[in-house]
Assembly symmetry: C2
């Protein structure tokens, strides 16, 4: 089987696991009325539209770390845990969209936007309340499903204990990051560069990169030392990924990345790009445009040009490279200490080159 076929079939199996989970829940929802069934149907549609980055990463690494090819049972358990990582991701997205007041994600209606559009009267206050409350409640169900999925993983009691500890720490840190992000956007804490970088790490790296890598280590019975090195590599790759994301939102080609070209500027999102710009003499000219919901394309282009001129773009590109280098160094060291099999090194280098070279 070629690598591509394997990847495709893994993607299909993750999707099948998720689809199975959702149809079982939709069936259970039936006794509670058509609105509740409708919520689950909408959830399935939105949850299955993703690229499955996190569960794919987990499975890739599990295959690469395993001392012998995974048995059918082991593959099944890994797919199951991976699917629950995706549910956790979707739960976080839902609550994130409620908190941010977003109705769109990547230029398409998110679950909240879909529920609002279904109301005959359009985006009235009750329709928005209904859609946001539904997203809070669905997020609660998916979050608890994710924890239950880890609790029921078909692994040894020791592995389950490790998985539960990992998940607990992941949720705690991700929520701490989200909380700091809200504090930044509501002006409760100062948007200095250090705070913004740690917030990104907590909010994104921890569950999107560190969790899949560490879970793969646990599922393959890897040592604590291997797990810790993978955590460090995941932290750096996650930060590089998030900083790339910030760069693409402002400087990238919207036709490629699929986001609103100036949405970060309109929303006044506190990113590393902005934190750097604040420390330069160009800030006054940028601040005029920052956080203005009615930002015109011309003003957006002007702000972007100023962010380039003040050195923010170059600075953040430098940061991306630093974190890619740090990930590479940690990987090299882990290999030197015989903590990673060759296949895992290859998988992580492929991942790092994707993070570094991505355009969407």
């Amino acid at each position: 089987m070629s690598a591509t076929t394997t990847e495709e079939s893994l993607g299909t199996r993750i999707e099948q696991a998720l689809r199975h989970r959702f149809s079982e829940r939709s069936a259970a929802a039936e006794r509670y009325g058509s609105e509740f069934v409708g919520l689950w149907r909408a959830a399935e549609e939105h949850a299955l539209g993703g690229k499955l980055i996190r569960p794919r990463l987990l499975l890739d690494l599990a295959h690469a770390l395993a001392p012998a090819p995974l048995t059918a049972d082991e593959t099944h358990s890994a797919i199951d845990v991976a699917a629950h990582v995706e549910l956790l991701h979707f739960a976080f997205l839902l609550h994130d969209d409620v908190i941010d007041g977003d109705l769109m994600r990547r230029r398409r209606p998110n679950l909240i936007g879909t529920l609002v559009a279904e109301r005959p009267a359009g985006p009235t206050e009750p329709a928005l309340h209904w859609a946001r409350s539904s997203a809070i409640l669905l997020g609660d169900l998916l979050l608890s499903s994710a924890v239950l999925g880890f609790a029921r993983a078909s692994v040894s009691p020791e592995a389950r204990e490790r998985l539960l500890g990992l998940l607990e720490q992941t949720i705690f840190e991700t929520v701490a990051g989200e909380h700091a992000d809200v504090a930044l956007s509501d002006g409760i804490i100062a948007p200095d560069l250090r705070t913004i970088l740690s917030t990104s790490a907590y909010k994104t790296s921890t569950y999107s990169f560190v969790l899949p890598l560490r879970a793969a280590a646990v599922l393959t019975g890897s040592s604590d030392a291997t797990e810790q090195r993978l955590a460090l590599i995941g932290l750096h790759l996650g930060l590089a990924y998030q900083l790339q994301d910030d760069l693409l939102s402002v400087f990238g080609d919207p036709d490629e990345h699929g986001k609103d070209p100036f949405s970060d500027l309109r929303e006044g999102k506190e990113t590393a790009i902005i934190a750097y710009a604040r420390m330069t003499s160009h800030w006054d000219g940028i601040e005029l445009h920052f956080g203005r919901p009615d930002l015109s394309p011309a003003d957006g282009a002007d702000a972007r040009e100023r962010l380039r001129e003040c050195g923010s773009e170059a600075f953040v590109r430098g940061l991306v490279q630093e974190h890619l280098d740090a990930a590479d160094a940690a990987l090299f060291e882990a290999e030197a200490d015989a903590l990673l099999p060759a296949a895992a090194g290859r998988a992580l280098r492929t991942l790092a080159s994707r993070v570094g070279g991505r355009s969407r």
Copy 2:
């Protein structure tokens, strides 16, 4: 040891378990900044202010169902599970308050109200956003803590499987009830009596009564048959409790129950009292006052009088009695089928008489 001393010492031990959990989390929060620590401190203060009805019920029944006195280890496990039931309750309250837009609970600021009051500028939009977002995030942490607590209960693998299945069903049904409640308040489904009663059962009975009783059955190794009878008894007692609560809010003495005397009317809360009134010729006169945030005490008193005259009060009192009778019949039958030890029958009758006779 007298019954009172035992009850007090159980209450103290539940509180200690909760306090231990919160101080451990507050300590873990420190590396994420003072706002996150502040959130945990506020959470501890609010979570420990309750009457611990649910964990006490669980422990009472566990003692009453156990074939032999619980060992120290068994008591410890039961207290641990009971404390996690309380965390689940607090998580639901937090998200409920976000959804309802409430800043108060029982005439005192709730967690959201406390966080708003701490902001120097007062209840501005960013302060409200900050407080509500914090409540969503804290609810997420407590919900996942509750599931993790059940997953780590120090019980046999079979008992853990039963506990996890019970918790999954409980969360699913409670959220379904909350979702239907939002649909009622946003005018998405019709407020007929049947919908309102099933919504109450799902939203309140399931986690406040059925969960503690069934968890006690699992923890004492009781049979599935006993667990199912307890579920039925809990369902009826929970409905009687909720209907009493609705009656007290409208017709009770605010100095005793501690709520705003006309808050249900002001908020336009769809209760069984209102559903009955809608079917009578008195409704037009009541509708004038229903759901008016500026309802005056005089108009409130007028609405209350009309709800009495139209027969709503008597009707709902009748419903309370029906559910108490149904609980009693189910209890009697369970005893006749030798599914409940005498001590459990006594504990449940004490509970039923408290539900029936309560004034706050």
